[in-house]
């Protein structure tokens, strides 16, 4: 009985505190909602995400189905029409369908690679910022090396030995783009480390792990979320360039960059739709993430605005 009442007593208190805590995020959300371009970016991202998830329900064709073998020459490089909204490619594959399925690839790589780089970057950055000294020197040096690293060469070297595949793509992008997260995390940790509540936690005997994970990380989350949102955009861009060069996702998978490269051959002879629509898709998605990320930064860190 006693225990129950105790819980009851504490529970409202916790809830109260939670509401107070949430209100900071709520504040941010209110600020974000006022930011029109950020909302536009968010809408773009959400629409594309939904399209990727529900791809089979919003397309009429199979992304790998080469219609020329069934329908003949009329299906080859057909211009945009009611049957094929974005036209068809030289094999009679529906470009609208391929663009929609292509979003799956781009988003998968975008999120997975960002996830990997956030994990690596935040862990290394926090260690560097928290312990300082020798550890900081080594990690900062490593960050600088990664920043200066020629990414394309790295991937080229990788695909020379390993067959290009989705996991290889996001692993390789992930382990090479964590540097910006490490920098952000390190700077934030150094700042937060000096705060009274961390000192307090140290004073009551909290271990390093507990302090980092319970007291520091939750307080540096906002800038990392912002950084991650912006990073997704640039990683999608990177994936597209790799596919364009032929080192990324391999045919017949409908990667946007690869479609642009294939379609480019026909661009000059007037069949612009093969490369233009995937190009617009890349632009929309990257723009969406960038606008959203910018808006998030303004919303989560009101000081920057002033």
């Amino acid at each position: 009985m006693e225990a129950k009442t105790e819980i009851k007593n504490i529970a409202p208190g916790r809830a109260k505190r939670k509401i107070e805590g949430r209100s900071l995020w709520m504040d941010a959300w209110l600020r974000l909602r006022k930011n029109k371009s950020a909302m536009f970016g968010m809408t773009l991202v959400i629409i594309i995400c939904l399209a990727a998830i529900f791809a089979p329900y919003i397309t009429r064709y199979d992304p790998y189905d080469q219609l020329i073998w069934k329908e003949g020459a009329s299906a080859k490089l057909a211009p945009p029409s009611a049957a094929h909204w974005f036209g068809t490619d030289v094999y009679g594959r529906d470009i609208y369908t391929r663009v929609v399925y292509g979003a799956r690839i781009s988003l998968q790589i975008g999120f997975a690679a960002t996830g990997i780089s956030v994990i690596i970057g935040v862990i290394l950055g926090s260690l560097a910022g928290y312990y300082g000294g020798f550890i900081d020197d080594i990690i900062s040096w490593l960050t600088n090396v990664i920043f200066a690293f020629p990414f394309l060469l790295f991937v080229l070297a990788l695909v020379a030995y390993l067959p290009p595949s989705l996991p290889l793509m996001y692993m390789s992008i992930g382990i090479i783009s964590w540097a910006s997260f490490a920098r952000v995390a390190r700077g934030q940790v150094i700042q937060v480390k000096g705060m009274e509540y961390v000192e307090a936690a140290t004073a009551v005997g909290g271990g390093d792990g507990r302090i980092i994970f319970k007291h520091i990380l939750p307080n540096i989350l906002a800038p990392i979320i912002v950084q991650a949102t912006l990073e997704v955009g640039s990683i999608i861009m990177l994936e597209s360039s790799l596919s364009f060069l032929g080192f990324g996702v391999q045919p017949p998978k409908p990667a946007w960059g690869y479609m642009i490269n294939e379609g480019r051959q026909f661009f000059l002879s007037g069949q612009w739709w093969w490369s233009v629509f995937p190009g617009i898709a890349i632009m929309a998605l990257v723009l969406g993430f960038n606008l959203f990320g910018d808006g998030l930064r303004d919303a989560l860190d009101p000081r920057l605005k002033q």
């Binding site: 080469q66 020329i68 080859k76 094999y91 069949q271």
Partner: protein
């Protein structure tokens, strides 16, 4: 005082560098013009250089070691053979003015042209031979060099019918018995048995006369980078993966009908442009006089241009199965399944704009031994392919990697076939590598499934069936599939020594039938050839063997 002058100096430096920067800009805009000026520092504007875009860096410029068309293209300009072809594929004199063939067809006597000189200079420096005249001794030396087992020319075996070839190869003698000098301008070649396409073989681009002094000076490794021959153009520069520059040979032996010195052109510049869209765009801008390949997207537009020529050629485009490696080793049903799985006609019409002929065998149409009725005929039959897959032990399909050399055209074909294979349960993944790397790997039989193509070196089925599939030629000699069939070997060997054309044709038909049945390749299509030049380029003749063997001796530009 010092401070002031220092400031003045800095200001002057800034001004000078800024001005220099401005001055450079207009020059950089016309990139091609600038390059021309770089090559020819002479005062006169070098407008008479034919610029051509080629698709890949040629693997070899030394004719003794070249085996592919991108190398031959350059070699044809620098080197010369005893005989070559007219535009209908008939043998015509080149460095041999005429020849006599003995009644038993085993002795050939060549009367050499007088006044043929080796290049006096290359790369602006005198050559070791000093520009001396070519005599019978040079031919004797050259053949002894090419056929020497230590030289290890991959094409020496083309001449294995020459008397004493075997003894020379086995190092029993220090020279080949069948080749001798009669006098300075007469060369005698004896062969073991009457070999019908012998003259054609001599026209092959390995058997060029070479200057002993320069070959010895540079050695086997370096002659490739400093080739010296007798041809209408001299070697000037080879920037790897960028360009090859040749200049006019002023001492060339040939004059035109009116007695004007040939060649008309001052030089040739081959630029390596791997991207076919780029080739087409640059051609449109007038930055090239000729481009190697009109890619399918631009075919319809190119066809309307006055400088476009097209014709059939003796060649076959195929995907090779490696018969020494899994999964194709010892699995005929599987190889046949591949052959039934693809719609050749559809592929050619849809993806290649109808610019080829469907292939269901090795020999191209127009070749002796080609017969439409030879069985089996690989039609498009997915059901049969599926049945054969079951028979082959792959009822649930199979995964295999196709290796092809980098080119949009090859990729397009591969992607179309990929989807057709999928229909019968074959999951083909694609991997592209550089042409040189692909040749290296296929020479060593390292790749299970690879893209390859073959165009005739001489217009005889021997060049296809014997060279590409006889077990004596496994590896770099041409049998990249490692095909080894006793009956086939016997037939093709027999056909080599047979003199009766009708009997030869019969033997080749039988051999062809075995090749089709055993399916060491996925037969895809037979080539056509085309050339695209600017309208002001005159005397362009589309050669019988394909555009790559074009000679520029009489080509001129009239702007």
């Amino acid at each position: 005082m010092f401070k002031k002058s220092l400031v003045l100096l800095i200001v002057m430096l800034l001004v000078v560098t800024t001005l220099a920067g401005c001055g450079q800009k207009p020059a950089q805009q016309s990139g091609s013009e600038q390059q021309q000026q770089e090559q020819q520092p002479a005062a006169e504007a070098p407008k008479n250089i034919l610029r051509m875009a080629i698709m890949s860096n040629p693997p070899k410029l030394d004719p003794v070691f070249a085996t592919d068309t991108s190398s031959s293209r350059i070699i044809y300009q620098i080197f010369e053979t005893l005989v070559d072809y007219d535009k209908d594929g008939n043998v015509q004199p080149l460095l041999a003015e005429s020849w006599d063939i003995s009644p038993d067809k085993k002795t050939y006597t060549f009367h050499l042209r007088k006044g043929v000189h080796f290049h006096k200079t290359i790369e602006g420096k005198p050559t070791a031979n000093g520009g001396r005249e070519v005599k019978a001794d040079d031919w004797v030396w050259t053949f002894n060099y090419i056929l020497n087992p230590d030289t290890a020319s991959p094409r020496a075996y083309f001449l294995d019918m020459i008397k004493g070839y075997k003894d020379y190869q086995d190092k029993k003698t220090d020279h080949i018995a069948g080749i001798s000098k009669v006098d300075d301008y007469t060369l005698k070649i004896e062969i073991d048995y009457p070999f019908a396409p012998f003259l054609s073989v001599l026209a092959y681009n390995t058997f060029n006369v070479l200057p002993k002094e320069d070959v010895e000076k540079y050695g086997k490794e370096q002659f490739n980078f400093h080739p010296v021959g007798t041809g209408p153009f001299k070697f000037e520069q080879w920037v790897q993966d960028d360009k090859i520059v040749l200049s006019k040979n002023e001492d060339y032996w040939k004059k035109d009908k009116d007695g004007n010195q040939l060649p008309y052109l001052d030089g040739l510049e081959f630029r390596i442009v791997t991207d076919l869209a780029m080739e087409w765009t640059e051609f449109g801008l007038g930055n090239f006089e000729q481009i190697e390949e009109v890619d399918d997207p631009y075919y319809a537009d190119a066809k309307k241009l006055p400088g476009f020529q097209e014709g059939p050629t003796l060649g076959t485009y195929y995907y090779g199965f490696n018969l020494t490696k899994a999964p194709f080793k010892g699995n005929k049903a599987l190889r046949q399944a591949f052959n039934y799985a693809i719609d050749r006609k559809g592929l050619i019409d849809m993806v290649r704009n109808g610019r080829a002929l469907p292939a269901t065998g090795v020999l191209p149409p127009g070749m002796m031994g080609y017969d439409e009725s030879i069985q089996p005929q690989y039609t498009f039959d997915p059901e049969k392919a599926k049945a054969l897959m079951k028979e082959a032990g792959y009822p649930n399909g199979l995964k295999v990697e196709l290796v092809y050399n980098t080119s949009e055209g090859h990729k397009r074909i591969a992607e179309a076939l990929q989807s057709q294979f999928k229909n019968v349960g074959i999951d083909v993944s694609l991997k592209n590598i550089d042409w040189g790397a692909l040749l290296d790997a296929t020479d060593k039989l390292e790749i299970p499934f690879f893209r390859m193509g073959w165009v005739a070196d001489y217009p005889d089925p021997d060049n296809f069936l014997y060279v590409l599939l006889n077990s004596a030629n496994i590896g770099p000699k041409g049998n990249y599939s490692g095909f080894n069939n006793k009956e086939f070997d016997d037939l093709t060997n027999q056909a080599r020594v047979e003199t009766d054309p009708a009997k030869r044709a019969e033997l080749y038909k039988k051999a062809e039938s075995i090749a089709r049945e055993e399916a060491p390749w996925l037969f895809i299509y037979h080539y056509t050839t085309h050339s695209l030049t600017q309208p002001y380029v005159k005397n362009v003749v589309l050669p019988f063997f394909g555009e790559y063997s074009m000679k520029y001796t009489e080509v001129k530009m009239e702007k």
